[in-house]
Structures are given as structure tokens and as C-alpha cells.
């Protein structure tokens, strides 16, 4: 126990400042302004691998490490689409995942945001469209923000998430007292 505590003290707080949102990543202008009114900056994300090679998952995992500390920004990954505000989707959409992806999307309450992660999610990537692949995510469900990269690094992913939610809101983010 003492060793654990000593290690914690020695490590200290190592979280780095987050990147800013980037408007050039926005692909759809139909961003729902209600989401910010309702949610402020507390955001629940459901990650879905729709066919990725698992490279993007490694970088999404990294967002939870102490340096990026995504929970410190009020953003967390949740276990059910019914708890989610934003879907973070990787991979070309495998045909065998198409139904599961649609159902997950439908199970997510409105208003919702969708961020496609990685070259495959944005364009189909090296896998393209085939008998087994539907290609990019927007071929199957509507996408708000697309983040390129193979895989994109955690900063780029975080920047994409922040782009989706940071629609020029004046002043500090706030919760509405009643919903």
C-alpha cells in the first residue's frame, strides 16, 4: 500500500491542456445546438468499432490515460448507446456490422452527434467498398465530424470530439437547471 501511495505521489498530476476544436473537421452543418443547451460540456460517448483493424481503438484508449485525461474534461465513455450523446465510430463499416451499427444509432437518444474516426471511417480507407465492406461510416448513418489519420493520434481524436460539441458558445459551458 505504501509503495502504491509513494508511486502516486511521485507521478503527480501530469495531465496536459486539451487541443482546441477545429472547424475544418466539420463535415455537416446540421449540428444540433440543443445538445449544448442541454448538456453544457458534460458529454457521454459510446465507441463503436464497425470494422476497424483495431489501430484506432488503441488511440481512443489513450484518451483515458492521465496525459489526455478525457474524464477531466467532463467527457466519458459509457457502456450503452442509450446513455450516449455522441457516437465515436471507427472502421470501414463491415457488412456484417451494418445492422448492429444502425440499431446502435437508433438506440441513441436524440439529439445525437456522430464522429467518424480514422481514414477508414472517413473514406473506407485501404479496405474501400466491397462485398464485405460498406466503406465510410456516412454511407450507413449521418456523420457530423470526420477525423482523418491511420490511426489519428489522441490529440486529433480529442480535437474532433471538441469540434463536434464546441459550436461557438459564448461564455463558460453550463448545465441547464431543469431539462
Amino acid at each position: 500500500m505504501l509503495k502504491t501511495l509513494r508511486q502516486i505521489c511521485r507521478t503527480g498530476i501530469i495531465t496536459e491542456p486539451p487541443p482546441l476544436g477545429d472547424d475544418t473537421l466539420r463535415v455537416a452543418d446540421a449540428l444540433q445546438s440543443q445538445i449544448l443547451e442541454v448538456l453544457g460540456r458534460a458529454l457521454c460517448i459510446r465507441a463503436i468499432d464497425a470494422g476497424s483493424c483495431n489501430g484506432c481503438e488503441l488511440e481512443i484508449h489513450a484518451l483515458n490515460n492521465p496525459l489526455y485525461n478525457i474524464e477531466g474534461l467532463g467527457i466519458r465513455f459509457v457502456a450503452s448507446p442509450r446513455h450516449a450523446d455522441l457516437l465515436l465510430i471507427t472502421g470501414p463499416v463491415a457488412k456484417n456490422m451494418e445492422v448492429a451499427l444502425r440499431r446502435t444509432y437508433d438506440a441513441t437518444p436524440d439529439p445525437k452527434l456522430v464522429v467518424a474516426i480514422g481514414d477508414c471511417g472517413c473514406t473506407g480507407g485501404i479496405f474501400g467498398e466491397s462485398y464485405a465492406s460498406c466503406g465510410r461510416v456516412s454511407n450507413v448513418i449521418p456523420v457530423d465530424v470526420a477525423v482523418r489519420g491511420c490511426p489519428p493520434n489522441p490529440h486529433q481524436i480529442l480535437s474532433g470530439i471538441l469540434t463536434a460539441i464546441s459550436r461557438a458558445v459564448p461564455g463558460p459551458a453550463s448545465f441547464r437547471s431543469s431539462v
Binding site: 509503495k3 502504491t4 508511486q7 502516486i8 507521478t11 501530469i14 465507441a47 463503436i48 468499432d49 464497425a50 470494422g51 476497424s52 483493424c53 483495431n54 489501430g55 484506432c56 481503438e57 488503441l58 488511440e59 481512443i60 484508449h61 489513450a62 483515458n64 490515460n65 492521465p66 496525459l67 465513455f77 457502456a79 450503452s80 448507446p81 472502421g91 470501414p92 463491415a94 457488412k95 456484417n96 456490422m97 451494418e98 445492422v99 448492429a100 444502425r102 446502435t104 480507407g125 485501404i126 479496405f127 474501400g128 466491397s130 462485398y131 464485405a132 465492406s133 491511420c150 490511426p151 493520434n153
Partner: protein, 521 residues
Amino acid sequence: MVLQRWFDQAAQQSKASGGGVIAGAPKALGLTVAHDEWRQAAEDMAANGGRLLSLWASRDGNGEDIVRAAFIADAGVLIPSLPLTAAEADYPGIEQWFPSASRMQRAVADLSGLRATDADTRPWLRHAAWPESFHPLIHAHIPPSRAVPVIDHYAFVPVEGDGVHEIPVGPVHAGIIEPGHFRFSVVGEKVLRLEERLGYVHKGIERRFTELPLLSGHRLAARVSGDSAVAFSWAYCQALEGMAAAHLPPRAIWLRALALELERLANHLGDLGAIGNDAGFAFGLAQFSRLKEQLLRATQEALGQRYLMDLVVPGGTRVDLPSTGAELLMESTQSIMAEVDTLHTIYDEHAGLRDRFVGAGVVTPALAAKLGLTGLAGRASGQAFDLRCDLPCEPYGDLAPQKAVRTEGDVAARVAVRFDEVTESTRLISRILRDLPADSHHAAISVPNEGARGVGMIEGWRGPVFLALEAGGSGMIRRCHPHDPSWQNWPVLEHAIIDNIVPDFPLINKSFNLSYSGHDL
């Protein structure tokens, strides 16, 4: 002795008949066999300590279908090929000797339309996206797309009895994890049976290979399973360079080994944290994910990418390692290792962790041998095999890595093997950085002739990665079959969970950490 006869027979068979040395990985021999020899080879291999590496089908330049398997034994790798005439779509199944062959044979039926004579004929990679009559590796024309996507009804094996109920999980899981379906049959909390259903991330990789030039297939190979990018792209290049009879400068080979060990180190650090977290020790995740991030940043600084998806290219590596990069990697890996030592003590002394780890998800050495458990998980169950030691390709002969082996076969053993391999990889990395040859990191290579065959075999962090490559005309790939060790280990996970409680499944599953993408292709 029995096995030596097979290897001798293969060495004597002429190249034109499909025998003799196969280019690429060391000690690989091909042998064209008849139906009865196909079964006999499998039976002899199983009886004499041989292991099944992979099983796949291809179609040669004359339109003849061939089923191939790769067995590994002390003497090397034997790759029997069984040609099938147009009238025969069936071949003898080998599941009775190698249980892991079952799913590989079902995948062959889905992709190539060739059926094994074994009992389980359910589809494996084919769900509802394309009809049974369409075989993606045979038929050029894709049937017209469906109006509405549908879901099929897969025949899970039912478990009946007083109080037995089923828990279906997936394909979309509660976490940042790849998709797959698990069907648990439980009584109370205890798992009676687990049946896996995979194939959800099947994205047509083997067919995609046939659309690519030989000299760019390494990019797709690196994306078969992103966490094993170096292992797969090296295996691809090993096969290709063997077929092209290319000679690589030593520096290129050493840089690949550096990349492979960095990949092993990064994955092991990530897993050690995640396994601790699944046992309720969030401190472990915070610490190990911090160290992993430190390593990835050093890798980015030194070699230009956090994950080395595009480092290994035909002829060598895409970039060279500058001396400042070498110093940085040396410094980072040493400082990470010092911290891992501290964390190792904490893990070993933590009563709560020991309670969760010890005795959870046991695979005994006898069961592991029977089912063919391989790689890291195999070494935690007494299966002391590591390609880097048993059939070393350059530069592993010089590096002489030590095998990490445990016999308990539980989560604790799989954690212990990871700790040992972190130490060993750190040692190998510093040795490589110290003795890195000073010549070029890349050499030009020519395009192999049509009909050339090669294989690649690299011990990735999860286990032996195998890849078979055949050259087509105009510099294109005719056939490329990449094989992840997860094919062997997924079925064993079904056994590891028996009699454990459902809440221990995430922990046990994580201790194996198998690839979905590498398996589903």
C-alpha cells in the same frame, strides 16, 4: 523420426510438383499430397508434437483449387498442398487431430466453397451479407445488393437443464473494444458453456489483397490487426523478399526487430494496465497507460509514427533511425523499465489482485497442448514455443532471446509472462540500439515472377503470425493469406471460462487479449 520422413519427402519432391523449399521464412518445405496422405500427415504431426499453424485454400493459375495447411515441428514448417479436381469440392477434415482446424475449414467453405468432411458445417465468416452460393475468393461478380440489411439466425448449441439460462453479449460491447458475440449458458453466476460467434469485422481483406500490386501489399498486411502491424507487415515482406531472392542490408533487418520489440513492449504495457483495471485496480491502468504513452511518444520522435503501421516496407524500412532517435529510445525504455520494476512489485504484493488473478481462467498444459493454444497465452500454459528462439529469422539468431514460460495457465501466469517479456524486450531493444549495423536501411527489390510462392513467419506480441503469398501476373498478388494466432486461441477461451463466474469473464478475456480483426479478416 516419423515427422522427419515427411520433411525428407518434401525436400525431395520437385519444385514443379509443388515440393521443396518455400521462399521466405526459414525451414519451410512444400509437399503436394493425395487425399490419404493429407490425413496421414495431420495424424503424424499430431502424434509427434507438431502444431497446426494455419489452413487455407487457393486457386492456381490453371484454375485448380488447392487446400493448404502449415504445420510447425522441431524440424521446420511443412506445408502440404492437396489439389482438388473440379468434381471434388470436399476434402478430408483434420479437426479430430487439430481442433482449431474446425473454424479455419469453415472459413475456407465460406470464402472458397471447398468443404471439409468434418461435422460442423455452419458458416463462420459469412453472416447474412452475401448468399451461400457466392464465394468471394472464387467469384468475381458480387450479387446485387440487398434492399434491406438482414440478420441471420445462427444455430448456437443449446444447453438445457434446471435453472440454466443464456446471456447473449455483443456484437457491440460495453467498452472500447472490437465487436463479437458471446453466448453464455449459466447457472446462477457460474458459466457452464461459452460459445463465441465471430466474423463481424470481416471486411474482405483476402479478396482486397488480390487487387493490389505485390510491392504495396505490405500496407494492407499492416492493417490486418492494427496492434500487430509490424509483425504482419514484416511477415508479408519476408515472404515477398524471399520470392524476389532479395538480400537486405543488416541494418534494415535489425531496425525491423527493433520495431517488433517496441510493438511487443507497447502492447504488453497496455495489457498489464488493462488487466489490473479489470481486476478493480485503476491505479495499474493509470500507471501503465502513462508508461505506454511515454513509449509511443518516444517512438514517434525516433521513427515518425506512434504505431509503426508503415515502417516495414519491401526491401527494408521506410525511414532510418537517426542517432538522436536511438539515444531517445534507449533512455525512454530504460526509464520505463525502472518504473515497471516498481509496479511489478506492487502487482505481486497486492492481495486483492492476487485473489482475482490466481486460479482464474485456467488452461492446463495438457488442455493447451490438445487444443493448440499458442503464443503468449500458450507460454503461460507450458507451451514453450517462440519463433524467435525455435526457428529464428535474422537477426534473432544473434540476439538470442529468452523464452518466458509458466505452467499454471491462469490469469496470473499470463500476467507473469507479460512482465518477463517486457524485461526481455527491453534488453533486446538496448542490445539492438547498441549494436545496430551502420549500413543502409533499405535496398531495392525486384518483382517476383508469376507463380512464385513464399511464406512469412514472425513472432508477434500475441504469438506466431503466419502469412502465405502467391504472385500473379503483371506484378499483382494472386493470393495472400494472413493468419493471426487468435484463430488458435479463441476456441481455447471458451474452455478457460468454464466453471468461472460471469463477472470474471472480462478479466479472463483481457488476459488473452485476442484480435477480432486479425481473425475475421
